[in-house]
Subunit: 334 residues, 2 copies
């Protein structure tokens, strides 16, 4: 069907190598030859087959883009940014949905069968073993939105979750809240653990402030709502909550509204991520902004660098977060 190297060579009356060289940059071809070949190629609508090429070059320009977060709207932004940035870097994302995989083995095999040049694991909830499994199979790996401390063997790009916890704590302290709580995502997620640790650490320096914590089953609206409903029933509610994630916060807000309580009057809420929706006027969530565009761009740049230097020494790239003040915390007392 499609024209091949050989067709072009015959039409141009030259050798196959000459055609190949015309389409390989850095190869030696005279101007005359190039023109002849390009003419024939244009006439036949030829463009080289990447997969055949990859057989000898050992480069497919395919990158496995792996995630299990297909329910948190922030990941739509993440996919948008990743696909664009990868495309701009001449790479192509092979998307892998790991939502119900327990074992990385299948994905590792599949990605090897497709000879991907590298793997981006974009998830804050996948256990670090997954990233390691890909690395152990010899593929360059970047773990975006991952935990930086426990897996120094794999490149990580993300935020300092513990610092976010401390930041949230300081913010609540500065607003004069005396009884605060952390409402996290799933307890098993490293991001949840680290955010809680930072939050706790900072609050331990203020012994007069009461602190508690609990976990929602997932980073989702329903889970946040359910957990908040439970908390409101047992009636040991805090004055302000640091929620592990924006979408969780929105669930929490809905439970609070249903209970006839007012935000920030009766209860203060601070989220994390600053997803698009947090800025919607009917939500107006005070939150900690995670710089996802920077994280994504840096992840791809790191991946590109690794393609040239596969044994690059592993590094963690952390980006600072900052508070975005909207309407769900009471003002700083004057």
């Amino acid at each position: 069907m499609a024209a091949t190297l050989k067709d072009v060579a015959e039409r141009a009356g030259v050798s196959r190598s000459a055609v190949s060289r015309t389409f390989t940059d850095g190869a030696s071809v005279s101007g005359k030859m190039r023109r002849k070949v390009e003419k024939a190629a244009a006439e036949l609508g030829y463009s080289p087959n990447f997969l055949a090429r990859s057989l000898t070059t050992r480069r497919t320009k395919l990158i496995g883009l792996i995630s299990n977060n297909f329910h948190n709207p922030i990941f739509l932004e993440v996919f948008d940014l990743f696909t664009r940035k990868l495309q701009d870097s001449g790479l192509r994302p092979l998307l892998v949905n790991l939502s119900d995989e327990i074992d990385p083995k299948n994905s590792v095999r599949m990605l090897r069968q497709y000879s991907v040049d590298g793997v981006v694991v974009a998830s804050s909830t996948l256990p670090p073993d997954f990233s390691k499994a890909f690395r152990d199979a010899g593929m360059p790996v970047v773990n975006s939105f991952g935990r930086y401390s426990t897996a120094p063997e794999v490149h990580v790009v993300g935020i300092d979750n513990a610092e976010c916890g401390r930041m949230a704590a300081r913010e609540l302290i500065s607003r004069g809240y005396q009884n605060v709580a952390f409402l996290g995502g799933p307890e098993s997620a490293t991001s949840t653990q680290d955010r809680l640790a930072g939050f706790t650490e900072e609050l331990e320096r203020c012994p007069q402030i009461t602190m508690s914590h609990s976990f929602a089953d997932a980073y989702s609206f329903e889970a946040g709502r359910k957990e908040m409903q439970r908390l409101l029933q047992v009636d040991i509610r805090a004055e302000a909550y640091f929620c592990g994630d924006d979408v969780l916060s929105i669930g929490v807000l809905s439970a609070i509204a249903d209970a006839g309580l007012h935000v920030p009057g009766s209860i203060g809420i601070i989220g994390l991520n600053d997803m698009e929706m947090a800025g919607w006027e009917n939500i107006n969530l005070t939150t900690i902004r995670q710089p996802i565009a920077q994280i994504v761009n840096s992840s791809v740049e790191l991946m590109v660098a690794m393609l040239d230097e596969p044994d690059r020494y592993p590094e963690a790239r952390l980006f600072p977060c900052k508070i975005v003040e909207r309407g769900t915390l009471r003002p700083v007392p004057t």
Copy 2:
């Protein structure tokens, strides 16, 4: 690095063809041979290279998954469903973000270079030329969420947008609204055009009901909010609005709340899609449910069928929508 066919053949002391046949289903190999080869393969951790294989089989099992909707949360659900269903069918999605492409040419070339087996265009806003460009390049194409009437040369899986418009009109009529309006997405989107046409058609049968329409710039919260703010200012507001999309509806709801008006007391709203968020208790949007899981599954099944039969006669598969009643329309008068 990774073991090849030849390595396995040598280790097992058999020919390369024998190894190849062991990993090709339907090929003739004796039990004894199979065991020998599988043993050697297991010891070397061998699995066949799909890309090399594709060179002779002319099947990559790669499917281009193309979209330009990376801002409407419903598409996160769409991507989740597509990736799962494709994976379950033994296919792999090569994700292409067409957000700022004017011309399909580049994507066509790229997808040909990767020898994708087929292309799924998942978009309700891409012009039909895009789908056609892929088909003209000889690739099987399914246009999911597309318009079915104008492009009978390309397979389409989706809903009958005009019928949705009629359905919305009937619903508003049955609730006794006398002055209704359509607040659509971008005027250029075929989905918007068809929904408006159906809505208008049905209302023309009730001349006593006043009807108007306008368009938002995009299927987005901000666009919906802005358009509703404008409508509220000019003060020729309708009693009920059929909004082109749920996320648009949510923007509309926010504008209404800001104006101090009440839903469904002062204004009724009906959306379209039934995205997850529509069911959140603090939104509680009455809407028309688009059966996206069915559309996605059917799209993939159609794609699978086309792989065996590339010249299959083009068909349109339409799925019925139904109203999901929540809290943004006033009750049917008794």
